[in-house]
């Protein structure tokens, strides 16, 4: 078992495309749940909207790729409106039900053969991001420096994506310490109190849903460009729950938790994967207990165990404040 290589893989993954896309998506989720108290269980739907918006603009409509990015964000915005208009006047649980259902409906829709001319059916849309890679300065196939190991195109998208993640984090931080942020936090605490003080709770919830959704759409666009493809089977509900895991790991309603939570989540998955495979190869784990093909599932069990322990010993997550958490229980 090569510990050094496991460590290198883990660090590469923590700063890799998956973690970057997750960080962006989880910032959106944090706007929804952490600051405004909206239960969104369909964040992956916003990623799909972003990705397909970009892909369809280029391959189906033949539009300028940069315009495609705007279209992707626009799709996410429309998705937020569709979800929000009927549900935001109702109790919070309804949004949860509608978002998870809508994101599944969306996935099945883009996967269907009826729409295959536009969305490519179950193979999705491929090879559309070439225009963006014309700007790629990392022309070598592979870059290996320190513990980091990335392909040229990946390094390109990472060098765009991470600064974008930091920029969005900064903007959200700025927003949440403004009077606007105060209103949405008040709505999280008690919507009626905010309304009694003259705040249009419905409209603020809508703004927050759109904002978090468009950030989710941006995550989907980054993913689509990184892979140069969108495939329907990526956008399954479990992805949303991984994002929730990352958010809770970091701590709900905190500025840095989306980034650190996502890095930790992907780091944990990689390290458990490497260690389990190493143990298995060394023959330290009896075959009746686990074989090599089960590693993928068992690492999720371990992450689940870790999350359960976190809930017991540090329910506020890494960045959360325990004092604040306890207030909630009253």
């Amino acid at each position: 078992m090569n510990l050094v290589s496991i460590l290198e893989q883990t660090i590469s993954q923590m700063f890799g495309v998956n973690a970057m896309v997750f960080a962006m998506a989880v910032i959106g989720l944090n706007v929804h749940f952490g600051y405004t108290g909206l239960l969104n269980f369909g964040q992956i739907g916003f990623l799909a909207m972003g990705g397909y918006g970009l892909g369809m603009s280029i391959t189906v409509f033949g539009w300028n790729p940069w315009l495609g990015i705007l279209v992707g964000l626009g799709y996410a915005l429309i998705f937020a409106l569709l979800l929000g208009i009927p549900t935001l006047r109702l109790r919070g649980d309804y949004l949860a039900i509608v978002t998870i259902a809508a994101s599944e409906v969306l996935r099945i829709l883009v996967r269907s053969t009826t729409l295959a001319d536009w969305t490519g059916g179950n193979t999705g849309i491929t090879n559309f991001a070439g225009a963006f890679y014309e700007f790629n300065p990392f022309t070598e196939r592979v870059y290996d420096f320190g513990p980091f190991f990335y392909t040229g195109p990946n390094l390109f998208i990472l060098s765009i994506g991470w600064p974008l993640v930091l920029l969005v984090t900064f903007l959200i931080w700025q927003l949440m310490r403004s009077p606007w942020g105060r209103v949405v936090k008040a709505i999280r605490e008690d919507e009626d109190a905010a309304r009694a003080l003259g705040k249009n709770a419905y409209w603020y919830k809508m703004q927050a849903l759109i904002l978090g959704g468009v950030i989710g759409g941006l995550a989907g666009i980054l993913l689509a460009i990184a892979n140069s493809t969108v495939q329907p089977d990526y956008f399954v509900p479990v992805q949303t729950f991984f994002m929730w895991t990352a958010l809770i790991l970091g701590g709900v309603g905190r500025v840095w938790s989306p980034i650190v939570g996502s890095m930790l989540f992907w780091g944990l998955l990689t390290v458990t994967d490497g260690v389990l495979r190493g143990f298995e190869a060394e023959g330290w784990i009896p075959r009746w207990l686990m074989n090599a093909s089960q590693v993928g599932q068992i690492r999720f069990m371990l992450v689940g165990l870790g999350l359960a322990l976190l809930m017991v010993y540090r329910p506020q997550g890494l960045f959360g404040s325990r004092e604040e958490m306890m207030l909630d229980a009253r």
Binding site: D192, A193, A196, K199
Partner: protein, 301 residues
């Protein structure tokens, strides 16, 4: 302090729906039913500007429902409401609040995970930084924010909450939360404050201070309407009392008249509503209750 210090309502008849000389709020023909139950059916109520009006009545009289209808938290089936000369029927709660009608709640709604000062600052109206795009540019709202903060601190001082300024509102005691909610309502610079059971769940030591704060609102020229069960409180601070029962207004008048009128007391507050029990009576009740309990236990095999 005497009720109705200026004597503005001296000549007003003691009957339901009577007109006031200078009403800030007038409700006509308002009704609301839940299924077959007619919860509110008010012909007419008007509220005099600058005074404290109490809304009382037995449980289930429709006081809170009526309150919710007035403040836009529920929609009436029929009827009109006029606030400050403007028709406001069917208007949403946040728009009413912007017009100057601010309410509090029976179960206090302190925003637990915001600090006390943030709770206060939320109350201010017309904040430039509450618009999404402007929020990104502190330059546009920082000055106003400082003004709001000064006002909030002055109010905290007045409500004796200054020492809790940076604590989470969730750490406040029940009584402090009532104070905070009232102070927060004042941040919105209301002309009419609607208090839903302001004394419920407050310990007696704090009741007096809360009462003084309510009277202080009147001194400032703010109109107050409040729902209350405690007759001592009603007698102490209200200038005018509206009695509701089964959704209707059945009596109106100054508090002295209400508490002298045996019919009202008997029918809506109970004949012994505030007479303390004698020791024998209390023992008798306990004995009765115990006997009943024993009987029930006997029934269970």
């Amino acid at each position: 302090m005497p009720a109705d210090p200026a004597g503005t309502l001296a000549g007003v008849a003691h009957q339901p729906g009577v007109d006031k000389p200078d009403p800030i709020l007038v409700v006509e023909g308002m009704s609301r039913s839940f299924g077959g139950l007619l919860a509110v059916d008010v012909d007419k109520v008007s509220v005099q500007r600058g005074l404290i009006t109490a809304l009382i009545g037995p449980n289930g009289a429709g006081k809170t429902t009526f309150f919710n209808l007035l403040t836009g938290f529920d929609e009436a089936d029929a009827g009109t409401a006029t606030f400050d000369g403007q028709l406001v029927s069917g208007m949403s709660s946040h728009r009413l609040a912007k017009m100057g009608m601010v309410r509090t709640f029976q179960l206090t709604k302190s925003l637990t995970r915001l600090s006390v000062i943030e709770n206060m600052k939320l109350g201010a109206r017309d904040q430039r930084g509450e618009a999404f795009l402007r929020a990104f540019i502190p330059y546009l709202w920082r000055y106003q924010e400082e003004e709001i903060e000064d006002r909030a601190e002055a109010l905290l001082e007045r409500f004796q909450l200054s020492h809790m300024r940076d604590e989470y509102a969730g750490t406040l005691s029940g009584g402090q939360r009532k104070l905070l909610e009232m102070a927060r309502a004042l941040m919105a610079e209301p002309t009419l404050v609607m208090l839903d059971e302001p004394m419920a769940g407050v310990n007696p030591a704090l009741t007096q201070s809360l009462l003084e704060h309510v009277k202080g609102l009147r001194t400032e020229g703010i109109t107050v309407v409040f729902v209350e069960h405690d007759m001592d409180v009603v007698r102490d601070i209200s200038d005018w009392v509206v009695v509701m029962s089964e959704g209707r207004v059945i009596f109106e008048g100054p508090p002295e008249v209400i508490s002298q009128d045996p019919a009202v007391i008997d029918a809506y507050l109970g004949a012994h509503h505030d007479a303390p029990l004698t020791e024998e009576q209390e023992e008798q009740r306990i004995a009765n209750a115990e006997a009943e309990l024993a009987e029930r236990e006997g029934e269970v095999p």
